[in-house]
Amino acid sequence: MAFNRRQFIAGSSALAGASAAASMLPQPAFAQSEDMLKIAFAARGNRTLDPAKSIQGADNWAIVHIHDTLVNSPNGRFATKPSEFVPQLAESWTMSPDAKTWKFKLRQGVQFHKGYGEVTADDVVFTIDRLRDPKQAGSSKVLYQNVAGVTADDKYTATITLKQPDPLLLSGVIQDYSCVILSKKAVTEKGANYQRDPVGTGAYQFVSLDPDPSKGIMMTANPNYFGGAPNIKNLNVQYILDTTARTLALLNGDVHMIEGVRAPGWVPSMQKKSPNLKFDVAAPGSLFTLTFNLKRKPLDDLRVRQAFAYAIDRDVIAKAMAPISRRTYGLNPPGFPGGYTADQVPADLRYPFDPDKAKKLLADAGFANGLTIDCFTSQREDYSSVMLIVQELMRNVGVNLNMQVIDHTTFHANDAKDMNALPQNSSAYPPVPTLPLSDNLSKFAEVKSDGTGGANYSHYGVVMPGIDDLIAKAYAEPDFDKRIAIVQQAEQQVMRDLPTIPISTNGYLIVRDPKVDLGYQVQSGYAYWRLDKAKFVA
């Protein structure tokens, strides 16, 4: 069969036109006026809106607006004392004297969106049981390991019983985004599709999820919200991975808020470009620690570890990453219960910046002529920015960090197999002071080369005595103040043994158009905050 030229041109044009037209089907238009607050995050697209499975910060912003927790911290900051928590779906709660039984009394008459009925204790039981279900792979299951059971005492009362005392249950578990209360009816009905069509009680209800990341998630105000209907009628979460595109979208007025870049110099350059922009930083954000693999020589030598501590100028690192970064002294940052400030650290454990002392310690350890250590770090900006500064600082004292910068997924997979001499961790924690200790330094969390272990990359508690007795004592202590005192003891031992050096915190940064007034100031908290009180100002 032969084509002639005209047939070929006609056919090709039709094919090209059909292909192009197929993607141009009209889609629902959404208001572009000032009744929509648009916020863009550094992600390629939505992963899930199921709170039990979400690990992407951008998605969590939508989750916490569509759903509610039982209680929450006040807007703009972490609650650091039990008395500071704010009622949400629970109007009141009690803790037993042994801190193992928590009873939550629900607000009456709170309705799920789209006609899915009233919130009852059965929904609380369903939500928490779902998070604990051993047959479900979830992202936050570790948070619920201490939950022995949850029951509905009556329609509006739910009781959570714990295996061990936890006076900080509200901080570490209840206010977490994973613990937003789901509608049993909606989840059961929608099944796997729930993650793309969620139903909650939140200030905003889900409207649509567009595969175009620039459209992202559309939500509209819940007029019957128990906390008062939001000021801004619509909320749009967009995904703009590329930093340039995201920054330009803000500067061009396409979006009102963007996730900032945690790299040296970015904030000053933005401030210079547009002095009126607002920079909201939720401290402490991620806690960055540099850990020593105590199974690798010469990192098992305390003098070498102390040399690192004296050689790394943590104030310089915090300054380089300002305003998002702050110096930290212990695993718990200043401002957290049990966290140390500069003047609280014992004088012999302060490790002030002193390269000469670092060189002397290395010489005492037999490395007067220097030392090379192979290691790797993640290309993610909060890791690589800090480690490149550390590399330079260590070079000044004769320690050559032969450092590979690798992709983030490989970085974590390799760390989980005990492949790094100098593992690093940049994780965010709620103000629960035992968590960073048990997650990172307990012998029960020791990393294993087959990947079956936890996040104790130092092998502290195994290679050398650790703080497991103190951790166990802290977890068994129901009294909040006494628990903090034990944690501080453990922190001091860590400062003495140096299995890990806390470097800095990297706060979570959102850059905001000045015409958006959040209704409060952001000081601390998770890497998301509520926008239901936000409004546009002149």
Binding site: M1, A2, F3, S19, S139, S214, K215, H412, T452
Partner: protein, 312 residues
């Protein structure tokens, strides 16, 4: 012609099989753990194992390979590891954007390249030829993502003529969103294609039939476009197919910078998160695209030069 098409399809089968095997092996060799990528670094070992069991990553490798081949050949790629969305739907959502970008960039590139190439050939050695050479050199030297960023800053941010991000909705809006990314890609393609057109036309301009056409009194425009260019198109068609394929792969950076949906960006994201089903599907789509484009070009050859079709 049908025999040619059938032969091309049969030729493609072993190639596809090789590509699929290479993809499977590469993904398994790539460091990184899909379970950690999906569940996060705080997930317990038991949760990670549960996930691996759920998606079949704990099966013997040969069984995983057979399952992978079967899924690829039946176009049933399962669900994305990260979003749990059916991969076929992900492809269906993203592919039109990539196709429209590729088509638009090719049209712009070709529409610019052919006249520029012809002018450079006809006026070779003169100012138009020199300018086209500079244009081509710049096109080779400047990366498409750099050009895209510059165009964003100038035409979107400063002049506010075009949007910064997104794919648009509705015909006019989609076209409006397409202008900058397609132009950025198209300009780079035009640089390559214009040199090819110039060389091809220059070679043909010296032929006897061109001299004969002039001697017969044909207008110069007719000589160039009806006689010279028509016979110079074969290498240009070859270059066009290569250009389309490189536009397809080059669309990744453009999709990221302009925040457009598309198979390229979907694939990059899937590789970063070790989303095996999505990676597999994306590679299969690209491989099929290569086969289809090559087939279309083979057909185009027979249209441009009927002697090729008759010879087959």
């Amino acid at each position: 012609m049908l025999r040619t098409i059938a032969a091309r399809i049969l030729d493609a089968i072993p190639t596809l099989f090789l590509v699929l095997t290479l993809v499977f092996v590469t993904m398994r060799l790539l460091p990184g753990d899909p379970a950690i990528a999906v569940l996060g670094e705080n997930a317990t070992f038991q949760e990670l194992q549960l996930f691996r069991h759920k998606v079949g990553l704990d099966l013997p490798i040969w069984l995983q390979y057979l399952d992978f081949l079967r899924d690829s050949l039946t176009f049933s790629f399962g669900n994305s590891f990260t979003s749990n969305f059916p991969v076929s739907q992900l492809i269906a959502l993203n592919l039109p954007y990539t196709i429209e970008l590729t088509v638009a960039a090719t049209i712009i590139g070709t529409a610019l390249a052919i006249p520029v190439g012809v002018l450079a050939a006809v006026r070779h050695g003169e100012a138009p030829d020199v300018i086209s050479r500079i244009f081509s050199l710049l096109g080779y030297a400047v990366p498409d993502f750099f050009l895209a960023a510059i165009m964003l800053i100038v035409f979107a941010l400063t002049l506010k003529w075009f949007p910064i991000t997104g794919g648009g909705s509705g015909l006019i809006d989609v076209l409006w969103h397409l202008v900058l990314p397609a132009t950025a890609l198209g300009l780079i393609k035009a640089a390559f294609m214009s040199r090819l057109t110039r060389s091809s036309v220059l070679e043909v301009m010296g032929k006897d039939y061109v001299r004969t056409a002039r001697a017969k009194g044909a207008r110069e425009r007719r000589v160039i476009y009806r006689h010279a260019l028509r016979n110079a198109l074969l290498p240009v068609v070859t270059g066009l197919s290569l250009s389309i394929l490189s536009t397809l792969s080059g669309s990744v950076a453009i999709e990221l910078i302009f925040n457009r949906p598309g198979v390229g960006a979907m694939l990059i994201n899937a590789i970063e998160t070790r989303d095996y089903p999505t990676i597999q599907a994306g590679i299969v789509v690209f491989a099929l695209f290569v086969v289809v484009v090559n087939l279309l070009m083979d057909i185009a050859y027979t249209v441009v030069d009927p002697r090729i079709g008759a010879g087959s």
